[in-house]
Symmetry: C2
Subunit: 418 residues, 2 copies
């Protein structure tokens, strides 16, 4: 009996009025034993490598001074009155410039971003506009578990997956492009494709050649595609051999008869403002198409949340105007890059195999036996990690452990896998 079945059976017994009124989504939804639950269980661990946020390793935020100053300088009117639907105009313009500044070949078609309540809400808006019951959502495997909750459990789409990594990944040739092309070729109706680089849980970004091959395969899709770039970890790329900028910039230039590129991003990870819950949804479109798509995105946002926290938007708008922001962001990125290199070194030293990782804040360590059992064992040793049983692996976050803790983290795992 699944967890949802179990909950529904209980409800039929103790609250018939609720049970008889559940929608299909209401029947399917249950709070998963996923990353938030595993992260909650790791609270109090000496080493907590569970969560995809950046701390100093002791549970404190790594201060981006521009964000701290913006919080200290919050204007009461701006923080407490309604912000316009769709987001503050100044913030939307600033975020558009922020995206365009990152386009490797100059700005392509790009709508004015619509503010969302974090990236999940941006994905929820994509699902609202494009997910049909029984329609296809093509996901990488492995991927973030919440995609399934949003697209399948709430909106009824049917996920299919392509295996992200080759059987024997080699440097510069890690993505399973054959699997990707085969998955696209098998599509028979308009479909949504979700891309996520740097990826969660892998921490992998493609090489420029791999990226070009992905874009070329999308361009050759047999069906009209909505291609969603989940750019949560945008710019957090630690190897010069990996592509640093979003594939959105290439995808947005493809023929609108075949491809709609959608960019979901935000301040959450990019500016280390995890609690702010300010994200954005933008489309690779211009002219009349831009007008229509932005109208529908604002309408979907209004129907699901009305508007985004004005307090958080005020913080972000002020921080984005700071001339020092980029340098401050770079300083935190360099700390993360240092942790990344330390993790690479320690894994190598311990002889512990890992899947290819070069970006973001995660690494995956294969566990041939029982990853969930190992996670629970590690908890008793004061070490928190995430288990991904379906991938037969652990996910380590180096966002929330200090560099000094990394040798201990690796040693704790190696003792059980050596």
């Amino acid at each position: 009996m699944s967890r949802a079945d179990d909950l529904n059976a209980t409800l039929r017994r103790v609250h018939p009025a609720a049970a008889l009124n559940l929608s299909t989504a209401g029947e399917g939804l249950f709070y998963p034993q996923g990353i938030p639950t595993q992260s909650a269980e790791a609270r109090g661990c000496a080493i907590d490598a569970t969560i995809g946020q950046v701390t100093d390793g002791h549970g404190h935020a790594l201060a981006l001074p521009a964000i701290a100053e913006a919080i200290a300088a919050l204007d009461f009117d701006q923080a407490t009155l309604y912000a316009p639907q769709g987001g503050r105009p100044d913030l939307r313009q600033a975020w558009r410039a922020h995206i365009q500044a990152d386009a490797p070949a100059g700005p392509g078609p790009l709508t004015l971003p619509v503010a969302t309540s974090g990236l999940t809400h941006g994905l929820c808006l994509v699902a609202t506009l494009f997910a049909r019951p029984g329609g296809t959502l093509l996901l990488p495997d492995p991927c973030w578990g919440n995609y399934v909750a949003t697209f399948q459990r709430v909106f009824g789409a049917r996920p299919r997956t392509w295996r992200l990594l080759r059987e024997r990944p080699e440097p510069g040739q890690a993505l399973d492009l054959d699997a990707f092309r085969a998955a696209l070729a098998a599509l028979t109706e308009p479909s949504t494709l979700l891309l996520n680089f740097p990826s969660n849980p892998l921490g992998y970004s493609p090489t420029p050649d791999e990226a070009a091959a992905v874009v070329q395969a999308v361009d050759g899709s047999p069906v009209p595609l909505v291609v969603v770039c989940d750019d949560a970890y945008q710019g957090m790329v630690w190897e010069p051999s990996a592509r640093r900028t979003s594939l959105f910039h290439d995808l947005s230039r493809l023929d609108p008869a075949r491809v709609l590129a959608v960019k979901v991003d935000g301040a959450t990870k990019e500016l280390f403002y995890f609690g702010g819950r300010v994200g954005f949804i933008s489309f690779g479109a211009e002219g009349e198409a831009a007008v229509v798509l932005e109208d529908k995105a604002r309408a979907a946002a209004r129907a699901t949340i009305s508007s985004v926290s004005a307090t958080s938007q005020a913080v972000l708008a002020r921080a984005l105007a700071s001339p020092d922001l980029a340098a401050q962001q770079q300083a935190v990125r360099e700390r993360l890059a240092g942790r990344y290199r330390a993790l690479k070194d320690e894994l190598h030293r311990a002889g512990l195999p890992s899947l290819p990782f070069n970006s973001g804040m995660f690494a995956m360590v294969p566990v041939p036996g029982d990853p969930e059992g190992l996670r629970k064992q590690l908890l008793t040793e004061g070490v928190g990690v995430v288990s991904l049983p379906e991938s037969r692996a652990l996910r380590l976050s180096y966002g929330s452990v200090s560099r000094a803790e990394i040798p201990g983290l690796v040693r704790a795992i190696a003792r059980h896998l050596g």
Copy 2:
């Protein structure tokens, strides 16, 4: 051709990949010419009575000192790191106590509230869990336009309405209880009923007798009901003859074989923290039913937004802990009550008929001719109001006009309707 048809036709022409991928919701959604649009058009008006938020009449927030102090004292870690899914535990407990303190007959069955990104998101979670394509949503007429966007356009429910007011409403006998009973009697399958007192756009709250009749009618429903109390304007009741507390407290005690009571509320209007976007969803349930319903609500929140702004939650949690909060809230309520009495007096003096209003921050003035034409005319005179063409009326908000502006507001309208 409807606005949505128009947008879809454009998209088919200029962006086939987007058009061919739209879901039913994606096809139906368009940003309405509703209150946010009318409010945007009124920006710059000397008198702006469009929007349901409380200002000093000059666009500035009416400071609740506890909120101001909480903003000034924001803790960087609390404001920038992730808040737990479902909401900060201390905040959820505090909000539960806040609800229970208001129960006229002592606390009844009540789950731990789940934090939402404003009240709209709370309604979105209700729709996620309970709205079925083609299923019935029973709404009062008139009601807030966004209900239709959330329940019908996104989730496919079919709205039916009951006429809220009698043909000739009399003091203490304004609600059309016969219409309400008839609408309930006509239900043939499990359905969702939405109640909103104090109501938007009417600004009406029932008398204790009317409230008891509503609860009794719900108790006699021929089908299992989900009854949603949209308590946005909770406690803003200006006449001793009107019921001040939520009907949720009575509905939550009804038989779970027939009724599930859901409470959607939040700090937005109750604590005048409009921009914070912190709302809550709670159920009238206990024991195992509470566990299941809270689990599903957290799951739905995770699938749509992940978590609520930690910055806003930190502000609200601190403000709720202030011993002075209730007195400060009362002080702003008294200013609103003063505006309410001034509006009543001026309407009477001008001989301008209005529909019954006794609470919230709105009043409706019938316009026999063309309310939208009158709204546009008033804009040219520096007066912003909302037109409700389907109700043949104007909606006046006294939240955003000062008491001194009220005679001018009424005179401007009376000149055209006298």
